[in-house]
């Protein structure tokens, strides 16, 4: 089924929050998922796989210990920590590449690299275990064999994307990934009670007037 990018963003935001991330990270994960879908990459599948790892249960182990190179955590690095940090700290790229170790779902980083590219008005290259992605924030080229997890990621200034992926206005998520996101999203919905149905919204008056 085809979904609007707004639906992708809304579902990804709720799912990320439902998986235990902060609201701010959920907003960013949602924009990143949408951006990937607009590039024709199934961002919903990438996000669904990430959320199932449960990294949000001990976030301190999955974020960079410090901002200096290389970025690494006690455990695998979560792109919803490393990605936002990269777009927060675009100035670092002016001094040289940013290096990261043991990154899961590095595809999600690309949207944050896109933020950085737009701010710096430069194309940026992401090298993940030898596979390349290049973006200027709008256009993206991506290796067919870009890794699912990467031991070593480097983000640096690059040349403009060579050709680019077609922009998409709709997303066609894999059904199982979409179901996973909706299962996580459901965790943000309060169970219905008679009291909340009566008092939580509306007027409690008849609409047959």
């Amino acid at each position: 089924m085809s979904f609007s990018l707004n639906e992708v963003e809304a579902t990804a935001k709720r799912a990320t929050r439902g998986a235990g991330y902060s609201w701010g990270q959920a907003e960013e994960a949602a924009k990143a998922t949408r951006w990937l879908c607009a590039q024709g990459v199934d961002g919903t599948a990438v996000l669904a796989d990430l959320l199932q790892l449960g990294l949000a249960s001990n976030p301190q182990d999955h974020r960079p210990g410090r901002i200096d190179n290389p970025w690494q955590g006690e455990g695998d690095l979560c792109p919803l920590s490393a990605g936002p940090l990269l777009s927060d700290c675009v100035h670092l790229l002016k001094d040289g590449p940013v290096e990261m170790k043991r990154v899961v779902a590095p595809v999600l980083l690309l949207a944050f690299v896109g933020h950085a590219a737009r701010l710096l008005e430069r194309s940026l290259t992401v090298e993940a275990d030898g596979e390349l992605a290049v973006t200027d924030g709008v256009r993206l080229t991506l290796s067919e064999t870009f890794p699912v997890n990467a031991e070593h990621v480097t983000v640096s200034f690059g040349t403009a994307p060579d050709g680019h992926r077609k922009q998409h206005t709709r997303a066609r998520p894999a059904q199982d990934s979409w179901d996973v996101l909706n299962d996580f999203a459901r965790r943000t919905y309060a169970p219905a009670t008679d009291e909340s149905r009566l008092l939580g919204a509306g007027a409690g008056l008849s609409d047959n007037d």
Partner: protein
């Protein structure tokens, strides 16, 4: 936004963005319905009704097409026979008197068939990238019966009853921007005719009004046969479209701080420009006086049974008297007459009266303020990205600037955090609950920016002022959404409500009214502290009547001597 050379600056956000004032806003010449009718008249849009296939029970479908200079848009309407026990304006309703989609272009029979299988289901159906909005409406049961019965008996409906209710049907949701599979906003954001906020939705409601007029005539004829009267166009004009709005609009204005800022800031800039005029011509002052008289007539039709609005209407009526008295003198003949008038109102009138006056002074000055409407959309996607290099001292300063009021509150006191916003699993209806009485805190939505800013300020204690905020956010991602909002606020000074949105006494209708006033709504009628009915397009010319002359001031009824 270009700032004109103004002597009087825009009003302080700390004054404007209080909930009680936002809950007292009135439509003005910048509002979205008036933008649409003016554009359609100026550009000479034409309208057609290619399909009206509705049976004697009122079941069937119809298509109304608006033809603009470059593109056409069609309302596809489905009429249903709804049992009274199913009639509910809530999100949790599952059936309606009528359902609609706004189609991008002119639908073919396959489109109609697809829509007929989905639009009547609303949230449980799917629409496509060819649709720009999805909506539904319920009848005002009493007025509907009155109009059908009178016309069927060969008589005209009683105008007083129409003034009191204002509409035959009220929409209970108008979904746009990609909801339930519809086209994303981006599809139309660059089209001149719908680039301003909510223009597709306003067009959908405008065409819905025509459909409802045609449907009531059709039902009257089905009942009355040959003796049926044709609804007098002068009476039909006072049939608007109602809207019944719940809590969803409150999260919207908190979740779109840049967009909301743009609406408020444009109105504030318009007010500042008019206040900065050194003198007013005779034509301008008489225009203003005339609009004020017409506005008084409209307000005389405004009814509400809710105690909050009853009190406010009492104040507003006293305000109208005070304004009338004030205008009988020569107050508009001095220098800076509009600034004098606004300054006078600040101590002489209630907030209802102050905001009415602030809207009305814009009316004679289309040339000065109408261009500002181009600044009302949100095209600043870059505002989302956090500047992590910003030193912590700057972030703290921004918190003190925008949320100083929140730093003074004791957020552990029950009355200051008594409520929590959440989404129910029942059709994802947005709700507001009692934090200490219901099991909802774990599901709380981030809709208390003041509380969150105060928490961020506390967490920043002990951090070095010169450290970049990125260092803090790396350790404290729970404050990312707050820092993002604060930084957005640099370009959006009117983006934040300067009040507690989770207090024991918060009235969400204040937030609903603020948004609805920019649509151009009138006759706000709260049904509870979290639910409001309004009227749209009452007085507006129908498509076959629309001219440049009547496209703008229709919201103010003509006063007959």
């Amino acid at each position: 936004m270009e700032t004109a050379r103004t002597v009087i600056s825009r009003r302080d956000p700390a004054r404007v963005m209080r909930l009680s004032r936002l809950g007292s806003l009135h439509q003005c010449r910048l509002s979205f319905m008036r933008q649409l009718t003016c554009r359609m008249a100026r550009e000479g849009w034409s309208f057609s009704r290619p399909v009206f296939d509705i049976d004697s029970k009122g079941v069937g479908h119809a298509v109304y097409t608006a033809h603009g200079p470059e593109r056409a848009y069609s309302l596809v309407a489905f009429a249903h026979d709804l049992p009274p026990e199913k009639r509910s304006d809530r999100v949790i309703a599952e059936a309606w008197d009528a359902t609609f989609a706004l189609f991008d272009g002119i639908p073919d029979p396959d489109d109609i068939k697809r829509l007929s299988q989905n639009v009547p289901l609303q949230e449980a159906g799917r629409v496509s990238e060819n649709e720009l909005s999805l909506s539904r409406a319920n009848r005002s049961v009493r007025l509907w019966a009155h109009v059908v019965d009178r016309l069927a008996a060969g008589l005209q409906p009683d105008l007083e009853q129409i003034y009191k209710v204002g509409y035959l049907m009220r929409t209970t949701a108008v979904y746009g921007s990609g909801k339930f599979g519809a086209a994303d906003r981006e599809k139309i954001a660059d089209r001149d005719e719908v680039s301003a906020p909510f223009q597709a939705e306003m067009l959908s409601v405008y065409l819905t009004r025509v459909f409802v007029r045609d449907l009531v005539q059709h039902m009257a004829r089905a009942k009355g046969g040959d003796q049926t009267a044709e609804l007098d166009p002068e009476i039909a004009r006072w049939l608007g479209i109602g809207n019944s709005t719940g809590l969803g609009m409150a999260p919207f204005i908190i979740n779109h701080p840049v967009l909301f800022n743009n609406w408020i800031m444009v109105r504030e800039e318009a007010i500042a420009r008019v206040r900065s005029l050194k003198a007013a011509t005779q034509t301008e002052t008489s225009h203003f006086r005339q609009i004020f008289e017409r506005s008084k007539l409209s307000i005389s039709w405004w009814r509400s049974d809710h105690p909050i609005q009853v009190r406010k209407l009492g104040q507003l009526r006293a305000d109208l008297k005070a304004i009338s008295d004030h205008l009988t003198g020569d107050s508009l003949n001095y220098d800076y007459p509009w600034d004098r008038l606004v300054t006078w109102s600040e101590t002489a009138l209630s907030e209802e009266g102050q905001e009415l006056l602030a809207s009305l002074i814009l009316e004679p000055y289309g040339d000065l303020v109408d261009g500002l409407v181009d600044c009302m959309a949100d095209s600043n996607a870059g505002a989302f990205i956090i500047d992590g290099a910003m030193p912590i001292c700057d972030v703290k300063q921004m918190i003190k600037g925008t949320f100083g009021w929140a730093l003074d509150l004791d957020w552990s006191a029950t009355e200051n955090c008594a409520r929590a916003w959440y989404v129910s699993e029942e059709k994802l209806e947005p709700r507001l609950g009692e934090r200490f009485e219901e099991p909802i805190a774990d599901y709380e939505q981030p809709l208390a920016p003041g509380r969150d800013a105060a928490a961020a300020y506390d967490a920043l204690r002990g951090w070095d002022d010169e450290q970049p905020i990125a260092e803090f956010l790396l350790r404290h991602p729970e404050h990312r959404h707050t820092v993002r909002r604060l930084q957005m606020g640099r370009a959006a000074p009117y983006g934040e409500v300067h009040d507690n949105t989770i207090s024991a006494t918060v009235a969400p209708i204040d937030m609903l009214r603020a948004k609805l006033s920019f649509f151009g709504a009138t006759h706000f009628d709260p049904r509870s502290d979290r639910w409001v009915r309004i009227c749209m397009y009452a007085g507006a010319p129908y498509p076959d009547e629309l001219t440049v002359e009547n496209a703008d001031f229709w919201v103010y009824p003509q006063v007959t001597a």
